[in-house]
C-alpha cells in the first residue's frame, strides 16, 4: 500500500492538514455506509473543490491507491465502503447550491448538497426536484447520481438519470471533464448517461446540472387498507391497467404497519394485511377525477378503508409513516437487511408469497415496504445481531429472496445499486459477454481499476454466488 508519510504529506498539501484523517481511531467513522458491510480506509480526504479533487486523484494515481468517493454514506449496497482500503474521498465539503435558474428550471449544484435541501431551495421558486429517496433528508445529489437513486415519486417522474442534464467529473487520472449539457440531441456518445448509476467506479462527480419541475397545482394522497397483500397487489395492477399512472403507488405490509403505527400514528389501520399509499398530482380537476377513479377501483378490489388526506398536514403524516418506516422497524428488531429486487408488476403477489415463505422458513420476521407501482420490492429482514449465528440465516434468506425476483423475470436492484452486496449475483442476470462489455467501459475510463474497486463486477474466480459474507467484511465480530 502506497500510503506512507510522504503520500500523507502530499494529501495534506493538496487539501489542507485539517482535511486529511488517518488516525486509526478516526478512520472508523468511515468504515461503513448504511449497508451491512464494512471495511476501513487508510485515510479520509475532504477536498473543497474540483481542483482539490483532481489533485487527490492525481496523488492516488501516482501511488496506485484505491479511491472510494462518498456522499452521505446512506447507500444500502456498500457503494461507499472502502473494500480494498485506500482513500475515502468525501465530497461533503462540496455542498453549494451554485445557482437555481427558475426561468430555465435548472439547478447547478455541488455533489454534497443534500437532496432535501435542494428541494427546499427549489420550492422558493415554485419548483421541485423529482427524485425523492426515503433517505432524502440525509443523502446527497452526488450520491443519488452515482447510484441512480429512485424514490416513491419515480413511478411517474422517472429516476435520477432522467433528471440530470450535465455533470462535471474527474477521472481516476485526475483529468476534469464536463459531460452532457442543457442542449438536447448532443452529437457524440452519451457519457453522461453512462456515468449516472456507475456507482463511483468510473468517475468522481464534482458538479451537477439538474432539472427542476414546476410544483403541481394539486396533490391528492389517499391511503387504502386491504385484508391481504394479494388483494392490495391486485389493486395495484388494476389501477395501472385502467391507464392511470399515479405519481406514487406504495405498499406496506402488516409487519410494517404495526411498527409504523407504534411510532408515527400515521393512521394506517393495524388490522390491515396491507396498506397502499396512492398519490396523484396535476391540475385540480385531474387530481379530483383520478382520485375518484382510483377510489372506485380500490373499493372493487376489497379495500375496507379508504382515506383521502384532507390537508397538507394529513398528507405529510401519511407520508411520514412511509418514509420513516424503516427506522420504525427498530421497534421489532434492532437490525435490518433491506433488499431491492424488481419484478414485473404482475408478479408481485407470487414473489411476495415467496418472500413470506422464505422468512418463515428461516424464522426471520420480514417487513415489506416498497414501490408497488414499479414492482420494486423492499423486503426488510429483521434480526438481532446479538443472536449467535444469525447472519448466516439472514444472508441465506436474502439470497433466496433475490433469486425469487430473478426467477420471476426481474432484476437485482431497482435503485440501491449493486455495490459489493450483490456483485456476486451479477451472473444471474448477465452472461460473460454482457459483463465483458461493461468491463470494457470500465477499462477505458479507469484502466488501473482503482476507482471504487470490488464493486458491481462479480469477484474474479467466484465459484458460487454468496452474499456479502464471502468477502469477510460483514463478520459479526466487526459489528460491535
Amino acid at each position: 500500500m502506497g500510503l506512507g508519510p510522504r503520500t500523507l504529506e502530499k494529501l495534506c498539501r493538496a487539501v489542507g492538514r485539517d482535511h486529511v484523517v488517518w488516525d486509526a481511531y478516526d478512520l472508523v467513522i468511515f468504515e461503513r455506509d448504511a449497508s451491512i458491510a464494512g471495511a476501513l480506509p487508510d485515510a479520509i480526504v475532504y477536498p473543497a473543490n474540483v481542483e482539490e479533487v483532481a489533485a487527490v486523484l492525481e496523488i492516488a494515481a501516482e501511488q496506485q491507491l484505491p479511491v472510494v468517493p462518498r456522499g452521505a454514506g446512506t447507500g444500502l449496497s456498500g457503494g461507499a465502503v472502502t473494500l480494498r482500503g485506500g482513500l475515502a474521498l468525501s465530497l461533503a465539503r462540496l455542498r453549494r447550491i451554485i445557482e437555481i435558474d427558475p426561468k430555465r428550471r435548472t439547478a447547478l449544484v455541488e455533489p454534497g448538497v443534500v437532496n432535501y435541501d435542494l428541494g427546499l431551495e427549489a420550492a422558493r421558486h415554485g419548483l421541485f426536484y423529482a427524485p425523492d429517496p426515503s433517505s432524502q433528508k440525509a443523502c446527497t445529489i452526488g450520491g443519488n447520481a452515482a447510484e441512480n437513486s429512485g424514490g416513491p415519486h419515480c413511478l411517474y417522474y422517472g429516476v435520477t438519470t432522467n433528471h440530470i442534464l450535465g455533470m462535471e467529473v474527474v477521472l481516476s487520472d485526475g483529468s476534469v471533464h464536463w459531460v452532457g449539457g442543457e442542449d438536447p440531441d448532443r452529437p457524440g456518445l452519451d457519457l453522461l448517461g453512462l456515468l449516472v448509476g456507475s456507482e463511483g467506479t468510473l468517475a468522481v462527480t464534482t458538479k451537477l446540472l439538474v432539472k427542476l419541475l414546476p410544483t403541481p397545482e394539486a396533490v391528492s394522497t389517499l391511503m387504502a387498507a386491504f385484508p391481504s397483500i394479494e388483494s392490495a397487489s391486485k389493486a395495484v395492477s388494476d389501477v395501472i391497467g385502467h391507464g392511470i399512472v399515479p405519481a406514487a403507488l406504495e405498499m406496506m405490509d402488516k409487519v410494517t404497519i404495526g411498527a409504523v403505527e407504534a411510532h408515527y400514528k400515521a393512521g394506517y389501520p393495524t388490522s390491515a394485511g396491507a396498506v397502499l399509499l396512492v398519490e396523484v398530482d396535476g391540475l385540480t380537476e385531474s387530481a379530483r377525477e383520478l382520485t375518484a377513479a382510483i377510489e372506485q377501483i380500490l373499493e372493487t378490489d376489497d379495500a375496507f378503508e379508504i382515506r383521502v388526506a384532507e390537508d397538507p398536514a394529513e398528507r405529510e403524516l401519511l407520508w411520514a409513516g412511509r418514509k420513516g418506516a424503516i427506522g420504525a422497524l427498530g421497534h421489532i428488531k434492532p437490525n435490518y437487511y433491506l433488499h431491492d429486487g424488481v419484478v414485473p408488476r404482475t408478479k408481485l403477489p407470487e414473489v411476495l408469497r415467496d418472500v413470506g415463505r422464505i422468512g418463515e422458513h428461516y424464522r426471520l420476521p420480514v417487513a415489506n415496504v416498497f414501490h408497488a407501482g414499479d414492482g420494486n420490492l423492499h423486503p426488510n429482514i429483521l434480526f438481532d445481531l446479538r443472536e449467535k449465528g444469525i447472519m448466516k440465516k439472514v444472508e441465506k434468506a436474502g439470497e433466496e429472496m433475490l433469486r425469487a425476483c430473478i426467477d420471476a423475470g426481474g432484476t437485482l436492484s431497482g435503485e440501491h445499486g449493486i455495490g459489493l452486496e450483490k456483485n456476486a449475483f451479477m451472473p444471474w442476470i448477465f452472461g460473460p459477454d454482457d459483463l465483458a462489455a461493461m468491463q470494457a467501459v470500465k477499462d477505458v475510463l479507469d484502466p488501473s481499476g482503482r476507482l471504487n474497486p470490488g464493486k458491481i463486477f462479480p469477484p474474479a474466480g467466484q465459484i458460487e454466488p454468496k452474499l456479502i459474507a464471502r468477502s469477510g467484511v460483514a463478520s459479526e465480530a466487526r459489528w460491535w
Partner: protein
C-alpha cells in the same frame, strides 16, 4: 439496392436471428470489411459519407415482437420491427410508445434507437433515452451483449443502453430492445394559433408552455405567410378543456395534423438543437424565406431546403450558444464540405477510446459518426 451517400455495398445480408446477425458482423470484421447496419432506411442521410462500405447489414429480418406485457407496461421487440407494427400491438391494450419521429412511416425500432430520432411528443415524454430499459447488441467480435433488463426500474450494472442510443450503430448493432410503455391519455385535444411575427408567436408559445398543464407537444411551423403554433394537450377531460380555454387558440384545421406532420422529410435537412432559452435567437437568425418547424419547449428546430451557403453561420451561432447543428440529410458533397456533425465535443478523446474498446478494427460505419 441500398446505397449510403451514393456508395454501393459489395454485399447485402439480411439475417433472420440475432445470432446470425452477430455471425455476419464478426465474419466481416475479421475480413477487415466495413459494415453499415440498416433498418428502415428512413434516416440514411445522417452522418458523413462513409469511408468504406463493404457489407450492408439489414436488420428488417429481425421482425419479431418478442413480448408485450400490458399489465407491466413493458414491451420487448427485435430491432427490425417497425414503429407502426409495435404501436398497433400496444394499441390493443390502449397503450403506446410515445415516439412520433419525422420521415414516418417505416422507421424500425433499431434505426430509431441508433439515430435517436424523435418527434413532437418529446416535449412531454423525452426521447427513448428516457424509456428504453434494455438492449441486446451484436458487437463486432460476434458477441451478443445485453444491458438493462425488461423491468421498468433497474440499476443493475452499467447503463450501456445510453451509450448505444444515438451512436449511429458505431459501437454495435442493436438487435433487440425493451421499453417502458405508456397508457394512452384519457382525453386529447389539439389547438392552433397563427402569428405573422416570430416575436408574437414566441410569446404565445411561452404562454402555452407556462400553463399549469403544458401541452404534450408544441410545434412552431414556419409557413410562407405566418408562424403557425400547434399544441396537443392530453390528460383528464376537464383539465384539458380548462387549459384550452385559458389558451384561447382555435381548434386545429386538419383532423390528422400530427400524422401529416410526422411525414415531413427533406433532402436538405439541418437539425439545430440549443438550450431552449436560446432557440428564439436561432429562429430569428434563420433567413426570412426559410422553411422550418421547431419544438420551442425543447430547443430544437428542423430547417429544411436551405441554401448550402447559409448553413455555416447558423451552425456557428448554435454552437456558440452551447448547442449543435447536425445535418440529418444533405447531398454528399455538402456533407463532405461542411461535416455532418459540426464542432467536435470536448470529450471526443474519451468517446474515441470507448469506440476503440468496442470496435477496435473500425468495422462499423467507418467515417460516418463522430468516432
Amino acid at each position: 439496392m441500398v446505397t449510403v451517400d451514393g456508395l454501393k455495398p459489395k454485399a447485402v445480408e439480411k439475417p433472420k436471428t440475432a445470432e446470425e446477425l452477430a455471425g455476419c458482423l464478426s465474419e466481416a470484421s475479421r475480413a477487415g470489411q466495413a459494415v453499415i447496419p440498416i433498418g428502415g432506411g428512413r434516416a440514411l442521410g445522417m452522418g458523413d459519407p462513409p469511408a468504406r462500405f463493404d457489407l450492408a447489414l439489414v436488420t428488417t429480418g429481425l421482425d419479431r415482437i418478442v413480448e408485450v406485457s400490458p399489465e407491466d407496461l413493458t414491451a420487448t421487440v427485435q430491432a427490425g420491427v417497425t414503429l407502426e407494427a409495435l404501436q398497433a400491438e400496444l394499441g390493443k391494450a390502449r397503450q403506446f410508445l410515445p415516439l412520433d419521429p419525422f420521415a414516418s412511416p417505416g422507421h424500425t425500432i433499431g434505426g430509431l434507437l441508433a439515430t435517436a430520432w424523435s418527434g413532437p411528443l418529446r416535449q412531454r415524454y423525452g426521447t427513448p433515452r428516457e424509456f428504453l430499459v434494455g438492449l441486446q447488441v451484436a458487437l463486432p467480435d460476434g458477441r451478443l451483449a445485453r444491458s438493462g433488463g425488461k423491468v421498468v426500474k433497474n440499476v443493475s450494472g452499467y447503463d450501456l443502453n445510453k451509450l448505444h442510443f444515438g451512436a449511429l450503430g458505431s459501437l454495435g448493432v442493436i438487435t433487440e430492445a425493451s421499453f417502458k410503455v405508456f397508457p394512452r391519455p384519457l382525453f386529447e385535444e389539439t389547438v392552433e394559433a397563427s402569428e405573422p411575427q416570430l416575436t408574437d408567436a414566441w410569446r404565445e408559445a411561452r404562454r402555452a408552455l407556462d400553463l399549469k398543464l403544458p401541452p404534450v407537444a408544441l410545434e412552431l411551423v414556419r409557413e410562407p405567410d405566418r408562424h403557425r403554433l400547434v399544441a396537443r394537450f392530453a390528460g383528464s377531460e376537464d383539465g384539458v378543456r380548462r387549459m384550452v380555454r385559458e389558451l384561447v387558440w382555435a381548434p386545429v384545421g386538419e383532423a390528422d395534423f400530427w400524422q401529416q406532420h410526422s411525414r415531413r422529410r427533406a433532402g436538405r435537412w439541418l437539425r439545430v438543437a440549443v438550450p431552449p432559452e436560446a432557440l428564439r435567437d436561432v429562429l430569428q437568425s434563420l433567413p426570412e424565406a426559410a422553411s422550418w418547424w421547431a419544438h420551442p419547449g425543447v430547443g430544437v428546430v428542423h430547417w429544411v431546403d436551405f441554401e448550402s451557403a447559409q448553413v455555416a453561420a447558423v451552425r456557428a451561432a448554435a454552437e456558440d450558444a452551447g448547442g449543435s447543428a447536425v445535418l440529418l440529410a444533405a447531398p454528399s458533397a455538402l456533407k463532405s464540405e461542411l461535416g455532418a456533425w459540426g464542432r467536435q465535443p470536448a470529450t471526443i478523446d474519451l468517446m474515441r477510446r470507448v469506440k476503440r474498446a468496442f470496435d477496435p478494427a473500425g468495422t462499423l460505419s467507418p467515417g460516418r459518426y463522430l468516432v
